[in-house]
Symmetry: C2
Subunit: 98 residues, 2 copies
Protein backbone atom coordinates (compact mmCIF):
# COMPACT_ATOMS: atom_id res chain seq x y z
CA UNK A 1 0.00 0.00 0.00
CA UNK A 2 1.08 3.55 -0.60
CA UNK A 3 2.70 5.96 1.85
CA UNK A 4 0.74 9.10 2.77
CA UNK A 5 2.39 12.24 4.15
CA UNK A 6 0.72 15.33 5.62
CA UNK A 7 3.25 18.13 6.25
CA UNK A 8 1.77 21.23 7.89
CA UNK A 9 3.17 24.77 8.06
CA UNK A 10 1.99 27.98 9.70
CA UNK A 11 3.25 30.97 7.72
CA UNK A 12 3.75 34.66 8.58
CA UNK A 13 1.22 36.91 6.82
CA UNK A 14 4.03 38.95 5.25
CA UNK A 15 5.70 35.81 3.85
CA UNK A 16 2.74 34.10 2.15
CA UNK A 17 3.62 35.27 -1.38
CA UNK A 18 7.18 34.00 -1.07
CA UNK A 19 5.98 30.75 0.51
CA UNK A 20 3.58 30.21 -2.42
CA UNK A 21 6.35 30.85 -4.96
CA UNK A 22 8.74 28.36 -3.37
CA UNK A 23 6.10 25.67 -2.83
CA UNK A 24 4.95 26.09 -6.47
CA UNK A 25 8.41 25.08 -7.65
CA UNK A 26 8.55 22.25 -5.10
CA UNK A 27 5.16 20.85 -6.19
CA UNK A 28 5.94 21.13 -9.91
CA UNK A 29 9.41 19.56 -9.69
CA UNK A 30 8.25 16.78 -7.37
CA UNK A 31 5.31 15.81 -9.59
CA UNK A 32 7.43 16.00 -12.74
CA UNK A 33 10.72 14.49 -11.63
CA UNK A 34 10.25 12.22 -8.61
CA UNK A 35 9.69 8.55 -9.40
CA UNK A 36 6.93 6.89 -7.40
CA UNK A 37 5.09 10.16 -6.71
CA UNK A 38 1.35 9.43 -6.99
CA UNK A 39 0.18 12.84 -5.76
CA UNK A 40 1.89 15.86 -4.20
CA UNK A 41 -0.29 18.93 -3.60
CA UNK A 42 -0.21 22.13 -1.63
CA UNK A 43 -3.47 22.91 0.18
CA UNK A 44 -4.60 25.86 2.28
CA UNK A 45 -6.83 25.60 5.35
CA UNK A 46 -10.33 26.85 4.49
CA UNK A 47 -10.64 28.49 7.89
CA UNK A 48 -7.04 29.74 8.41
CA UNK A 49 -5.30 31.35 5.40
CA UNK A 50 -1.91 31.12 7.14
CA UNK A 51 -2.15 27.34 7.63
CA UNK A 52 -0.95 25.16 4.75
CA UNK A 53 -0.47 21.44 4.22
CA UNK A 54 1.49 19.49 1.65
CA UNK A 55 -0.56 16.32 1.14
CA UNK A 56 1.42 13.54 -0.49
CA UNK A 57 1.03 10.00 -1.78
CA UNK A 58 4.03 7.81 -2.66
CA UNK A 59 4.18 4.34 -4.13
CA UNK A 60 6.45 3.12 -1.35
CA UNK A 61 8.93 4.22 1.32
CA UNK A 62 11.84 4.00 -1.13
CA UNK A 63 10.28 6.63 -3.41
CA UNK A 64 9.66 8.94 -0.44
CA UNK A 65 13.26 8.44 0.71
CA UNK A 66 14.56 9.29 -2.77
CA UNK A 67 12.36 12.43 -2.90
CA UNK A 68 13.96 13.68 0.30
CA UNK A 69 17.40 13.44 -1.36
CA UNK A 70 16.34 15.21 -4.58
CA UNK A 71 18.00 18.53 -5.45
CA UNK A 72 14.72 20.47 -5.33
CA UNK A 73 13.85 19.05 -1.89
CA UNK A 74 17.22 19.72 -0.24
CA UNK A 75 17.36 23.22 -1.75
CA UNK A 76 13.74 24.36 -1.23
CA UNK A 77 12.75 22.85 2.15
CA UNK A 78 15.30 24.99 4.07
CA UNK A 79 13.87 28.03 2.21
CA UNK A 80 10.39 27.23 3.53
CA UNK A 81 11.72 27.29 7.08
CA UNK A 82 12.28 31.05 6.73
CA UNK A 83 8.56 31.75 6.29
CA UNK A 84 7.21 30.08 9.43
CA UNK A 85 5.18 32.07 11.95
CA UNK A 86 6.58 30.16 14.89
CA UNK A 87 3.37 28.20 15.47
CA UNK A 88 4.30 24.51 15.35
CA UNK A 89 3.55 22.63 12.15
CA UNK A 90 4.59 19.01 11.87
CA UNK A 91 4.89 16.08 9.57
CA UNK A 92 2.93 12.86 9.85
CA UNK A 93 3.71 9.76 7.81
CA UNK A 94 1.00 7.17 7.28
CA UNK A 95 0.60 3.86 5.52
CA UNK A 96 -2.54 3.47 3.48
CA UNK A 97 -4.87 0.79 4.89
CA UNK A 98 -7.73 0.93 2.34
CA UNK B 1 -9.47 23.43 -7.29
CA UNK B 2 -10.36 20.39 -5.26
CA UNK B 3 -11.23 20.20 -1.56
CA UNK B 4 -8.89 18.19 0.69
CA UNK B 5 -9.94 16.77 4.05
CA UNK B 6 -7.75 15.18 6.73
CA UNK B 7 -9.85 13.62 9.52
CA UNK B 8 -7.81 12.13 12.37
CA UNK B 9 -8.87 9.63 15.03
CA UNK B 10 -7.10 8.09 18.00
CA UNK B 11 -8.52 4.63 18.70
CA UNK B 12 -8.51 2.37 21.77
CA UNK B 13 -6.26 -0.67 21.33
CA UNK B 14 -9.17 -3.01 22.07
CA UNK B 15 -11.36 -1.34 19.42
CA UNK B 16 -8.98 -1.33 16.43
CA UNK B 17 -10.51 -4.39 14.73
CA UNK B 18 -14.02 -2.94 14.93
CA UNK B 19 -12.75 0.47 13.79
CA UNK B 20 -11.10 -1.14 10.76
CA UNK B 21 -14.29 -3.02 9.86
CA UNK B 22 -16.47 0.09 10.01
CA UNK B 23 -14.00 2.30 8.12
CA UNK B 24 -13.65 -0.41 5.43
CA UNK B 25 -17.35 -0.11 4.67
CA UNK B 26 -17.15 3.70 4.81
CA UNK B 27 -14.20 3.81 2.37
CA UNK B 28 -15.76 1.32 -0.05
CA UNK B 29 -19.21 2.95 -0.11
CA UNK B 30 -17.79 6.47 -0.40
CA UNK B 31 -15.50 5.58 -3.31
CA UNK B 32 -18.23 3.61 -5.06
CA UNK B 33 -21.31 5.74 -4.48
CA UNK B 34 -20.36 9.37 -3.77
CA UNK B 35 -20.29 11.66 -6.79
CA UNK B 36 -17.28 13.99 -6.94
CA UNK B 37 -15.09 11.76 -4.77
CA UNK B 38 -11.57 11.84 -6.26
CA UNK B 39 -9.90 9.89 -3.44
CA UNK B 40 -11.00 8.67 0.00
CA UNK B 41 -8.50 6.51 1.90
CA UNK B 42 -7.90 5.28 5.41
CA UNK B 43 -4.26 5.58 6.53
CA UNK B 44 -2.46 4.53 9.72
CA UNK B 45 0.34 6.50 11.35
CA UNK B 46 3.67 4.71 10.74
CA UNK B 47 4.84 5.57 14.25
CA UNK B 48 1.55 5.22 16.21
CA UNK B 49 -0.68 2.22 15.35
CA UNK B 50 -3.62 3.75 17.25
CA UNK B 51 -3.57 6.96 15.17
CA UNK B 52 -5.55 6.92 11.91
CA UNK B 53 -6.42 9.49 9.28
CA UNK B 54 -9.04 9.52 6.57
CA UNK B 55 -7.40 11.49 3.74
CA UNK B 56 -9.91 12.76 1.20
CA UNK B 57 -10.08 14.65 -2.08
CA UNK B 58 -13.36 16.02 -3.46
CA UNK B 59 -14.10 17.79 -6.72
CA UNK B 60 -15.79 20.66 -4.91
CA UNK B 61 -17.55 21.70 -1.68
CA UNK B 62 -20.94 20.54 -3.03
CA UNK B 63 -19.71 16.96 -3.42
CA UNK B 64 -18.27 17.00 0.13
CA UNK B 65 -21.57 18.39 1.46
CA UNK B 66 -23.52 15.65 -0.33
CA UNK B 67 -21.16 12.97 1.08
CA UNK B 68 -21.93 14.14 4.61
CA UNK B 69 -25.63 13.54 3.96
CA UNK B 70 -25.17 10.06 2.45
CA UNK B 71 -26.71 7.09 4.26
CA UNK B 72 -23.34 5.40 4.85
CA UNK B 73 -21.87 8.61 6.32
CA UNK B 74 -24.72 9.39 8.72
CA UNK B 75 -24.91 5.74 9.84
CA UNK B 76 -21.19 4.91 10.15
CA UNK B 77 -19.61 8.12 11.50
CA UNK B 78 -21.50 7.88 14.83
CA UNK B 79 -20.28 4.24 15.06
CA UNK B 80 -16.66 5.43 14.77
CA UNK B 81 -17.19 7.71 17.75
CA UNK B 82 -17.50 4.64 19.99
CA UNK B 83 -13.93 3.53 19.29
CA UNK B 84 -12.07 6.70 20.29
CA UNK B 85 -9.37 6.58 22.98
CA UNK B 86 -10.28 10.04 24.27
CA UNK B 87 -7.18 11.66 22.75
CA UNK B 88 -8.40 14.52 20.55
CA UNK B 89 -8.52 13.88 16.82
CA UNK B 90 -9.86 16.58 14.56
CA UNK B 91 -10.89 17.41 11.06
CA UNK B 92 -9.16 19.93 8.80
CA UNK B 93 -10.62 21.10 5.50
CA UNK B 94 -8.29 22.56 2.88
CA UNK B 95 -8.55 23.97 -0.60
CA UNK B 96 -5.96 22.72 -3.06
CA UNK B 97 -3.61 25.52 -4.20
CA UNK B 98 -1.36 23.56 -6.63
Amino acid sequence: MSIRVVAENHIRADAVDEYLAVTKELVEKTNTLDKGCISYQLARDSSDPLHFAVIEEWEDQASLDAHMKAEHFTRLIPELGKFGSGKPGGIAIFERVY
